[in-house]
């Protein structure tokens, strides 16, 4: 048997280049080169230098697919959002991406859409990549999906909600408590007839319901009524929905002096419509939003709203996943990150 012909080197530098090539250039075994790259402390100064030189010269970039397959660590984390349009989850995705990148992990983004149909295909695509973790914004709806995720054994962090039965880990807050707190805030500010405008997504609805219940309890509904005036608008919410929402509410019986909007965008629409109609804020109408988007403080009047620490959620979720990926346990798997009512001028 003759020795095999030397492997034909591809023309492009960096393409088709493997660890073997680098190792050969550095005069060491592939595994040694691997160690020089991944656990530099485990090799001698000399070897380290030679390998780094070889990498530098060739422009070698390790194949993470191969590495992931061999080590069963993909350094990939999947994030699922209903939709990326709509600024609510943005802050979370942003900080998640950053926190992960800092630790050498990449983010894979999936949009589940607001219907269930895509969820299954998406889940399959995710599990197929064997990510080191999955971050869910909002709760996975279909029980089937939840089961598959659980079965896959991949660390999961649910966010932006609290649930009695988390799949695995969770960092969120109570939408019910927000509804209650907002009603109380409005009541404390002297408002006596309130209404709510909410997008038809499940969490908004829960905030609205809790708000309505508490408002009724505090006597802020028309006597005898079991709920306050509501206006449901399509998700994702828009400025336009806020405008028509207020118009709708104003058209209903009974004057209102306060309105809770399920998003800051909606609240801004309400403010614009109020201005157009000559309804003074806050004297005639108090407005509260949800989300504390960056523009809210710059409105006129400044918007009183509920702040969620989206960045904190992202960071914590990243930490949870990374802890698990490195084989450590996460002692407090459920974290209530709470919320803050930001008092500004619109109430």
């Amino acid at each position: 048997m003759t020795a095999p012909a030397p492997v034909v080197r591809k023309g492009r530098k960096g393409a088709g280049l493997t660890l073997r090539d680098v190792a050969r250039l550095a005069g060491v075994a592939p595994i040694t080169a691997s160690r020089a790259l991944n656990t530099p402390d485990a090799v001698s100064e000399t070897v380290l230098k030679k390998v780094r030189e070889a990498v530098e010269r060739t422009g070698y970039v390790p194949n993470l697919l191969a590495g992931g397959l061999a080590s069963k660590k993909s350094r990939l984390v999947a994030a699922v959002v209903p939709t990326i349009v709509g600024p609510i989850f943005l802050e979370t995705v942003q900080s998640l991406t950053e926190a992960l990148a800092d630790a050498g992990y990449q983010l894979m983004l999936g949009q589940s859409g607001y219907e269930n149909s895509r969820e299954d295909a998406l889940l399959e695509a995710i599990i197929g990549r064997r990510p080191d973790g999955v971050v869910l914004t909002g709760i996975m709806r279909s029980a089937e999906s939840r089961k598959r995720l659980l079965a896959s054994g991949i660390p999961v962090v649910e966010t932006w909600d609290l649930t009695p039965t988390p799949i695995d880990m969770l960092v969120g807050f109570s939408h019910e408590r927000i509804g209650v707190a907002v009603a109380q805030h409005l009541h404390a500010a002297g408002r006596r007839r309130v209404a709510v405008i909410a997008g038809v997504d499940e969490r908004s609805r829960r905030r609205a319901r809790a708000f309505s219940d508490e408002a009724v309890r505090l006597g802020m509904a028309v006597a005898g009524r079991k709920e306050v005036p509501q206006c449901m608008v399509p998700a994702p919410t828009t400025l336009g929905s806020g405008r028509t929402g207020l118009a709708d509410l104003l058209g209903q019986d009974g004057a209102i002096d306060g309105v809770f909007c399920s998003s800051d965008i909606l609240a801004m629409g309400v403010m614009i419509e109020a201005q157009v109609r000559g309804v003074a804020i806050p004297s005639q109408l108090a407005v509260m939003g949800f989300g504390d988007l960056s523009f809210s403080r710059d409105l006129h009047p400044q918007l009183t709203t509920v702040r969620i620490d989206g960045t904190g959620i992202g960071k914590t979720a990243a930490r949870f996943i990374i802890e698990r990926a490195e084989g450590r346990e996460v002692p407090e798997r459920v974290q209530d990150i709470g919320f803050t009512i930001i008092e500004r001028q619109s109430v």
Copy 2:
């Protein structure tokens, strides 16, 4: 030698399950099972049914890492944005994710930040995954990065800009032409003293410069001046920047009757500040934005702005990448998607 002990099956269903297990269950060779899954047309009805049954029963999900390694097709596409916060690129990322998902590709999201420092590490992480394509929003700045990308041989689509020397493929529009068109629009509307508020990012700056030059040419600057009043604000732009921007401009010498804002957010801030100061829009001041964000049509007055088909950009970029991934050539590698001036009430 004795036969090795049977492999211990992991407890969790779906975990550690391989194609071999499925094949065994279906009574075929692994490769046949593989074909049943990937190229169903290449196997008999009988085999197809048996394999599908086995998959169903076991909850098997193919390991895409292994598949990608063997086939050199990762079905992964990387997208790089400066930051995901800031609604400009959202539409593009959204449609990109969807179009890719429909074709069985996943999106990996990277944020380069507005400085160059992270770009290199990010690029390494991206190339390491051997994606089937990379979509860049805005141009990669460092020449080093561009070179590495080119060397990697990965299909690249640059977006949101036009450049004489694209790395590979490109779908964008001319920021210069937008500046010119906006100046002309304002001029045609009878404005004679215009100004510009722009974020300090490179593309905004180019729009602003082209706008200024054209405005000067049309005689919309103070006689003898070589540029119109400008106010540069930090990127990403905010409502607050728009408000202070207008205040700044109003404080400068010479009354203005029109202002071009480098983003709709900025324009909205201008409108709020104008309202607070009792400056009537459009009669006293015409306002134009850029981006046509969803809220722009719902403002009062409705915002006249420049619309970019972000969804179209995402779709086209996805198509380009997919074409290449499937081995086809893309004949028109540079596509100017243009822009539209949306005439509403603020001019």
